[in-house]
């Protein structure tokens, strides 16, 4: 997805029409481009946006993974004459959505969700090639110009018709068609960039299939925002295939990291992506990521604990979500019958909850001093209202992780549980109250 920094900037001056035509028709990467004053303003806003994200603590901090992404970018853009105002670089965003964004100044924001979801380096390279193509075709700059032109028109129309510019459907339709055209160009150029860099260009099509599968998984959560701006995956696969057939010939000279190495290198990032997916209730994607990490490193206690957490949170969340269904008479909605049957039986005893316990136990078998496994096991017992066992696990966690960031929070939880198990009057748990009020 190509973006200006938050969709603003300016472009009052018109970029010579032949440059646009050259970029769009011939799709020449980094064709000579003369910046206007408004373009410069847009570039400076891109810088402002990066600082803004830092202030919002939105980045995922992993220098090793970021460096790896930058190496792929370097390979893909090698030999291209990049203008001075573009500094190609990747920044990892702590966002679980399967998405990435390109900015006019060369910054590519890569969500940890997409890094974790891709199968190997080739797939990730296909995504990065798509984003580099947006930058190489100056899509962010041209898009911004088009958006401003269209909005001005919508504003003028609103003075005549009384219809607010913000609700002008013609404006949205025009922009939507423009977006789709840009995406098609970027997909086609991605095939060429992959081929130039020695990667297998057919992977672009595979990566799109992967994204299509991911899209099919969105049922209970909102689909990613790019659905509104990108053509349908089947359509994209169609024109990418045509481009692949047209550009046959160049041999594959570089395969990049294969699945095992790729997953091992991004293991920490994948665990974080699982947690972020849990936060947005996308348990399907979280389980997918945890499953593949576990497949590569089945004896890694960190992976076992992560899988256990996904299953535990899923079962726990189901309890809240299904609460709504219970209110509905079963015969009125037979499709929900199965779902409702699960909730009527206590979800704490559901297979997912038991499986979570299995994974925590396995992690503890491999490493009895795995602090995180003790903490999660404590949470599981707490969920089952087995406070004695929960207390025992939490105390063990405190012993094993005296320097942990959440040490004091956990100590507070232990104090509360000690109070409760000592038989003092029943009091609401701070954790329970917090959850309730946050609407989780």
């Amino acid at each position: 997805m190509a973006r200006g920094p938050g969709m603003k900037g300016a472009a009052r001056a018109v970029v010579p029409a032949f440059v646009s035509a050259l970029l769009i028709v011939a799709a020449v990467p980094f064709a000579p481009y003369q910046l206007t004053e408004e373009d410069r303003a847009l570039l400076s806003e891109c810088e402002g946006f990066e600082r803004f994200l830092e202030r919002r603590l939105a980045f995922y901090i992993d220098p090793e993974a970021e460096e790896y992404l930058n190496r792929i970018i370097e390979r893909l853009s090698g030999g291209l004459e990049v203008p001075a105002f573009v500094r190609l670089r990747a920044r990892l965003l702590r966002d679980p959505e399967v998405n990435a964004h390109a900015y006019a100044d060369g910054m590519i924001l890569v969500n940890i969700g997409i890094v974790a979801r891709m199968r190997d380096e080739n797939h990730l390279a296909a995504v990065l090639a798509h984003e580099i193509s947006h930058i190489a075709l100056y899509h962010a700059i041209l898009h911004e110009r088009e958006r401003q032109r269209s909005t001005r028109l919508a504003n003028l129309t609103s003075v005549v018709t009384g219809m607010p510019a913000e609700t002008n459907l013609l404006h949205y339709a025009a922009m939507s068609s423009y977006n789709r055209k840009e995406e098609e160009e970027a997909d086609i150029m991605a095939v060429r960039l992959m081929s130039r860099a020695g990667y297998d260009p057919a992977v672009v099509s595979d990566a799109l299939k992967e994204i299509a599968v991911n899209l099919g998984e969105y049922r209970q959560v909102q689909p990613p925002i790019y659905v509104r701006t990108h053509p349908r995956p089947e359509e994209r696969i169609g024109y990418v295939q045509r481009e692949l057939e047209a550009s046959k010939g160049r041999p594959v000279s570089y395969t990049g990291l294969e699945e095992r190495e790729y997953i091992s290198l991004t293991m920490e990032l994948r665990r974080r992506a699982c947690l972020e997916n849990i936060d947005v209730y996308d348990f399907g994607t979280a389980r997918y990521i945890a499953f593949h990490s576990l497949r590569i490193a089945p004896d890694d206690p960190g992976n076992l604990v992560t899988m256990g957490m996904v299953l535990m949170e899923w079962a726990d969340n189901k309890r809240w979500m299904d609460h709504r269904y219970v209110k509905e008479p079963l015969e009125e909605n037979p499709q929900r019958k199965e779902c409702t049957r699960d909730i009527l039986a206590d979800p704490r005893n559901s297979p997912s909850f038991k499986n979570a316990e299995y994974y925590f136990n396995k992690a503890l078998e491999i490493d009895p001093d795995c602090a995180e496994a003790h903490k999660q096991m404590g949470r599981l017992h707490y969920g089952r209202r087995d406070y004695e066992k929960a207390l025992e696990e939490f105390r063990r966690y405190l012993q094993l992780a005296p320097g942990a960031h959440d040490y004091s929070a956990m100590r507070k939880r232990v104090e509360f549980l000690e109070e409760r198990t000592a038989g003092s009057p029943k009091k609401q748990s701070p954790n329970e109250a917090g959850k309730e009020e946050e609407g989780e």
Partner: protein, 273 residues
């Protein structure tokens, strides 16, 4: 991610613009712990303010990051000036990006806490109303009864700073440029519908118990941002410094009024007065 909680904020801004000066209600959103006079001095740490501004121009919506950064700094400066006047002692909190880079888990936790604060739905309940009373008193029972919490994750931040309380300030504003106001006005006249022709700013302030994440007081406030309405407003533009000064002054006045009402005490004298 950036859009989280935008709609409720927009609602706050619109309500503030529409409802300014029309309300005679008083809202109680304070836990008795914070109201009761205390022997011990309470130390408070200000968490980094989060402000988001959208500029609506003829060319569409824009996010003026330079203004956002300046307003966040201005809000922090203002809060630093005001909070001690209510009897709290300010202590510095380790919250800058550079500091947090050394402890990424703390960074992620702080971002989550801030998100949670912006998602909080500060409901109020009507408790009594008679024709003899000047207004209606509204109470957020969750706060007065100590049931509203933002999570135990706040504890490490309070402990690190040596603070008893943490203060969160978050705001959302819309700046309409002159031309856009004129277009909205014309379009509103033609359609007969109410059109948005003013720039507004809404904020919420929470004071939280650092030992368990309990919200001790919370309030919302707001004022106009019309003085930012120039078409090219931004750093270095004529009138920008003056607009920033007016923002600080408005925020200061509003904060003093709301804190006095919520904490049921008058502010001490301004430093140097």
């Amino acid at each position: 991610m950036m859009n989280a909680g935008k709609i409720p904020w927009l609602f706050v801004v619109v309500s503030l613009i529409v409802g300014a000066g029309c309300s005679s209600t008083t809202t109680k959103r304070t836990h008795p712990d914070l109201l009761a006079p205390r022997e011990t001095v309470r130390k408070i740490a200000l968490m980094p303010p989060r402000i988001y501004i959208e500029r609506v121009t003829m060319k569409g919506m824009a996010d003026p990051y330079d203004i956002i950064a300046d307003l966040e700094d201005a809000a922090l400066e203002t809060a630093r000036k005001i909070v001690p006047r209510f009897g709290f002692v300010l202590v510095p909190a380790r919250t800058s990006y550079e500091d947090l880079l050394r402890d990424t888990q703390a960074m992620y936790d702080l971002a989550d806490i801030q998100d949670r604060v912006s998602r909080l739905d500060l409901e109020v309940y009507q408790v009594r109303t008679t024709s003899m009373e000047a207004g209606v008193e509204l109470v957020d029972e969750r706060i007065t009864e100590g049931k509203l919490r933002i999570g135990l994750e706040v504890i490490p931040f309070a402990e690190e700073a040596g603070a008893d309380l943490l203060c969160f300030l978050q705001g959302y504003g819309v700046i309409l440029t002159g031309k856009k106001k004129a277009v909205n006005l014309a379009s509103g006249v033609l359609s007969g519908a109410a059109a948005e022709t003013g720039s507004g700013f809404g904020y919420r302030c929470l004071i939280v118990d650092g030992s368990d994440g309990k919200v001790l007081t919370a309030f919302t406030g707001g004022f106009s941002l019309n003085y930012f309405g120039c078409d090219e407003c931004g750093r270095g533009q004529p009138g920008y410094d003056e607009a920033l000064k007016r923002f600080k002054r408005d925020l200061e006045e509003d904060l003093i009024e709301k804190l006095s009402r919520n904490l049921e005490r008058e502010p001490g004298p301004a430093p140097g007065s």
